[in-house]
Subunit: 722 residues, 2 copies
């Protein structure tokens, strides 16, 4: 016995040498390292009872418990047939489990809804039990993941009393994945979806993707790029999507597709895609019927129309509402939804792109079918390191608005920069629109509570690709995790989410958790500082968006340049969006608008977003604006160096493989932060004509050097091959 | 103790649930399953002694032994300081190890050369020892991999007496990888090289790539596509290549790059790339000097010139020799080599493309510098499932010729089709050119023994990509393995190599080995049968080459069509390459040429390669040609079904993950074999006007259906983004 154990150990060790490659994500079920806690868990969990029902979803819950408890408790926890002994974990629904039906959960279960759950430590017939109850099998699955998270984060099980339900109904990932395997703005390799081998070949990775999503409550995934390809709606590709849907179904992850508005022409052979044309309407109805034959629980369509060259209803003199309702009518008989993006700007360059979505969509409020949601990016430009919240939130009370976050770091340093986006997400969600007075947060707009919507949603543009570690770096996984956790419950604290993620991903060691948490919590602000401090935005290099390009001007349209946004001149810098400028502030409700419009009251963080400010303007710090800009760029670099120092102090706390990855990436980040700082400060200096303050490091090179850098073959920019 | 062991076991089991994803390749060091053999190994190997020297290469050998023996013997085998006890494995070189210097290996070591090794079971001072001796550290490393392979394949260690040295000096992989991450004709995901994160980020995978190559004796890798990009020669990218070279160096894998002939214009700012222009010559010399500053052991350049649109010396009225010598002169001071490809065809469509390389290169024999090799594909067209050997082999005795095999399965079903290429490689290597009478095999041309060359080489177009299993399928790994083993020793038997690979990759279970070996050995012939039987060739779909396209005609040039090659008409089918046709047979030496030219003596396998044959021609089988063609197509499908049946009979012999992958891929292969059969037979039937014989399955669909199939987004066809 002992001998064969040793053999097994050594064999396992030999093969697990390479294991720390990040593939496991936060679903790590390694043995609990604290002996007392391990004993506590073993005592509390002598067996598992999932009563009645062998649905695919309950089987997934069983598998997860078997794997999770077996790993965490470092022993097999038996599945039992009855709850006679002490320490049984009972999981199920009232419909299939007499024990759950008989327990005192009915009140809590009322509020658990279709996806929530209740976890309780109870005593039944003098025996300790832990109950995971839910109204549905997927609620049980969510409860199981939540319960395993308790163990992964070293929480005691004596007096559990947890009741959870998601605040938002549709919690989606948006994959910007092309059918040729490239991913637009993807920095984690190429597409997860191996279309060529689908639907026959369904590698384990698809299931692990579903597990990871279900573990944080994500319940839908849009497989294809918003810059859509009609081919994805052909039978050949619907069969492939159906293959994925079958893998995801036990985990209650629904599949969605992007619908190219001109598909009736491109794959339907029609002469028009006019949404009021009966043939077009018929084509979409038949297409929807066809899709549901392949994928009975198909989620619906995500549409980018009349934006950045995509076709749309405006080509036919119709409105976005006409377009969205066309698809809404087609999907309605099947229960599908339409998610119509508000990220639009047409061929004419506007005086201020920040105003365009509001101008186009606000007049359409209440004009959409009941199964249509409007998906709005968190800010009015495009996923910048910091933007004020989008003025559409609160402006369309008669229409359900969905939040669109970007989890992939298109403007935040790609795969290598450590930028934890929990604080960014929270900043947007917690922003008060004042739509119905104080307390009208963006979160309350999108969770429906402000305006009484029951159809609600949130989307994150995925950062997931074929890289072994899924996201291009281990720390980028935290953004997938944080997005999912906040989609489930936007009231969660981003620091607490970071702590949870660190414990699940790396270690419960308090020093490690504290150190890494401090890095993560400060990281997004560091990126803001070395890229776009004080409300600056859209300063990146053209097209691929890697590295600084504050000098970018000319080209096809001025709102694709940097100078359009920063407007630096010898007098000062910043985009005047007050009444003397574009007056974008007027799109916000008065208390917000007034604050943004006032040079005195506008927060420093948004100063140059809303104001053109003189170089000598005295800041709250006492410094001039020029000095303040320089200080912020320098501060961003210093913040990265602090992350490096913290990380180095933690060497040895975790495996060398993930330690080393992060060490190298922080080195790249520090170098690129200096690149951003030096390029931007030198460029802005050509307008300010002032010296870089002594307390800031002087650039190594002249401006011409930074302008001469050409970065080639940047990930995430490949175009689909048609 | 026992308790913590159990914990470790369970933890390791929990985390190794997903382990069987093919990542380990054939370097699996799982515990020896046969108890008696395990005991034998443990007795024979009580300790390891690597005397003297801590070079990176000897350290790599130590690491491999630690990992390999620890896993296989399921216990740590200690590294000891002296060989006092029984059962010590002694490894080293005479230069650093007194034990090796003092042992009786000197004769064997003479023939081991710079890379070979000797393995012996000996008795020293009445103690049993195993010695791995070599003249160089890399020889020791090769010996270590060989030794571990003995254990992996369950061979006894009592009386080892092995002496090995490679027969060919440069054993290279050619990666057709683009700087944007795409891989031309790559079916295993995207490029292994993450250029964007190089040289800072060097994930473990690069080292495992080097280990895998070193384990089979590959000693060089061309990182970039032969359709070359001059950017790869800029300092920015040389630094990145140097990062890879540093990882590969301990494993004695040298880095090579493809040289775009027009690079002096594109990145050098010159007006010409004329090889006789002194400025151009100076530019290449400086470029070579620069490369060697970054990569001191840089291998050299691989060049595709004046072929398929690539620039080359002929643009300036110069010859291939002028071009190759230009680069040869630049590299010579550093010891680098030039590998110049003979796969050429110019803009004018020739009467027979099969003749072109011979016509262009034979007159240049003896005109190349001493550090230039000419790389010749195995056959005269392009990596078809079967081709006769290339007539250049034997035709240029004054020039070292390198073999170019395609390991990636561009024309053999891509990732999913099981096609073991060992027999294909052997068929080419063993072909007798009769250049100096009988026994003048292709292998003897390329190993230098026929014509007395010491500069020798062989190349395989890699099938390696970012897919977790490296090659797109587990069975495709066998082709990488077989290529490397044959590059080291072309005298090996392809069935024995298959057996070795099966044992190392899957299992030593005799039933399993026998069954899988039978599948592998028959697999390539199956592909020939359902794609291109009886000497047919180039029948695939245009451009992406996936699936059948015997009807392909028209387009930019006739030698990119199928009809150019099969020449089917109402009288018959096949390309007349005898004296009444293109007379390509005349490029072979008389005994070969006569055999190919004779309708009676030409082997069936090459019949339609060399002859246009009437539909009613009586074959050796007694059937008409038409019936024979149909029988072969049907036979290919049946062979795949036999593979399916064999595989299904082995279910349970190995892990379910790799079992299932292969099961699904065989299912795809069977369907695609039917697709090939039905499309080809129906199309050729339009010429033969004869019924499909009753013993063959009748197609499900009509010809129009097969012609209407459009396969989109086929892997391996992405174009680099410039």
């Amino acid at each position: 016995m002992r001998r064969s154990l040793i053999i097994l150990v050594l064999a396992s060790l030999a093969t697990s040498v390479r294991a720390e490659d990040g593939y496991e994500l936060w679903l790590r079920y390694h043995p609990v390292s604290d002996p007392a806690l391990l004993e506590h868990y073993r005592t509390a969990l002598s067996g598992v009872l999932i009563e009645g029902g062998y649905s695919p979803t309950l089987n997934a819950a069983r598998d997860e418990l078997r794997m999770g408890l077996g790993g965490l408790l470092a022993r097999e926890v038996p599945f039992v047939g009855k709850a006679g002994q002490d320490g049984i974990l009972v999981a199920g629904t009232p419909a299939t489990s007499a024990l759950i039906a008989g327990s005192d959960l009915s009140n809590d279960l009322k509020s658990a809804g279709d996806e929530g759950f209740v976890i309780r430590s109870i005593r039944a017939a003098a025996k300790r039990q832990i109950i995971i109850g839910a109204n549905t099998d997927v609620g049980v699955l969510h409860g199981v993941f939540h319960f395993l998270r308790l163990l992964q984060t070293h929480q005691r099980l004596d007096s559990l009393s947890i009741a959870e339900a998601p605040r938002i109904r549709h919690r989606l990932l948006n994959h910007w994945d092309n059918l040729d395997g490239t991913v637009e703005r993807g920095y984690a390799g190429f597409s997860l979806w191996d279309w060529h081998k689908l639907p026959d070949y369904l590698p384990r990775r698809y299931k692990d993707y579903a597990r990871a999503n279900a573990s944080i409550g994500i319940n839908g995934t849009v497989l294809t790029n918003v810059n859509a390809n009609a081919v994805s709606l052909t039978p050949e590709y619907l069969k492939k999507a159906a293959g994925l849907a079958a893998v995801f179904r036990p985990y209650a992850i629904r599949v969605y597709l992007t619908a190219r508005f001109s598909a009736p022409i491109e794959i339907g052979g029609l002469k028009t895609a006019d949404p009021l044309d009966p043939q077009v309407q018929g084509w979409w109805k038949q297409k929807a019927d066809e899709i549901y034959r392949y994928i009975p629980d198909f989620g619906g369509f995500l549409v980018k129309a009349n934006s950045e060259g995509q076709p749309g209803p405006q080509q036919y003199g119709r409105t976005h509402a006409d377009g969205a309702n066309l698809l809404g009518d087609a999907l309605a008989p099947h229960g599908g939804i339409v998610i119509w993006r508000a990220f639009v700007y047409d061929d004419k360059v506007p005086d201020d792109r920040a105003k365009q979505a509001y101008n186009e969509f606000k007049p359409l409020d209440e004009k959409f079918r009941s199964n249509v949601l409007i998906q709005v990016k968190n800010g009015p430009i495009d996923f910048q390191p910091r933007e004020p919240f989008h003025p559409l939130f609160g402006a369309m009370p008669g229409t359900p608005l969905m939040m669109e976050f970007q989890v992939t770091k298109e403007y935040l340093g790609f795969a290598t920069h450590l930028a934890y986006l929990g604080p960014l997400f929270k900043e947007a969600l917690d922003s008060d629109t004042f739509a119905k007075g104080a307390g009208s947060s963006v979160a309350r707009v999108i969770d429906g509570s402000l305006d009484g919507h029951t159809l609600t949603g949130i989307a994150g543009v995925a950062n997931i690709g074929s890289d072994r570690n899924w996201c291009g770096s281990v720390f980028a996984q935290a953004n997938w995790f944080a997005y999912g956790r906040l989609a489930w419950d936007h009231a969660l604290n981003s620091e607490a989410i970071a702590s949870e993620w660190i414990r699940m991903t790396f270690s419960n060691d308090p020093t490690f958790v504290r150190g890494v948490s401090s890095m993560m919590v400060a990281s997004r602000e560091a990126v803001v500082e070395y890229m776009t401090p004080l409300g600056l935005h859209h300063l990146m290099a053209r097209d691929h968006h890697h590295g600084p390009g504050p000098w970018v001007s000319g080209g096809p349209r001025s709102d694709w340049t940097s100078v359009y946004y920063h407007r630096a001149d010898e007098n000062g810098i910043g985009f005047d969006r007050t009444a003397t400028g574009s007056n974008a502030v007027a799109q916000y409700y008065p208390p917000v608008a007034d604050g943004f419009a006032s040079l005195e009251r506008c927060p420093d963080a948004y100063l140059l977003w809303f104001h053109h400010v003189g170089w000598n303007h005295k800041m709250r710090s006492g410094r001039t604006l020029w000095e303040e800009i320089c200080r912020h760029y320098q501060g961003g670099v210093e913040a990265v160096r602090r992350m490096q120092a913290t990380w180095q102090s933690l060497e040895g706390s975790i495996d060398s493989e993930r330690y080393e990855e992060t060490r190298v990436f922080l080195k790249i980040q520090e170098a690129e932060a200096r690149w951003w700082r030096d390029a931007c400060v030198l460029y802005f200096q050509t307008f300010s004509n002032k010296p870089i303050p002594k307390e800031c490091e002087q650039p190594d090179q002249g401006l011409d050097y930074y302008k001469s850098i050409v970065t080639r073959y940047v990930p995430g920019t490949a175009r689909p091959i048609r």
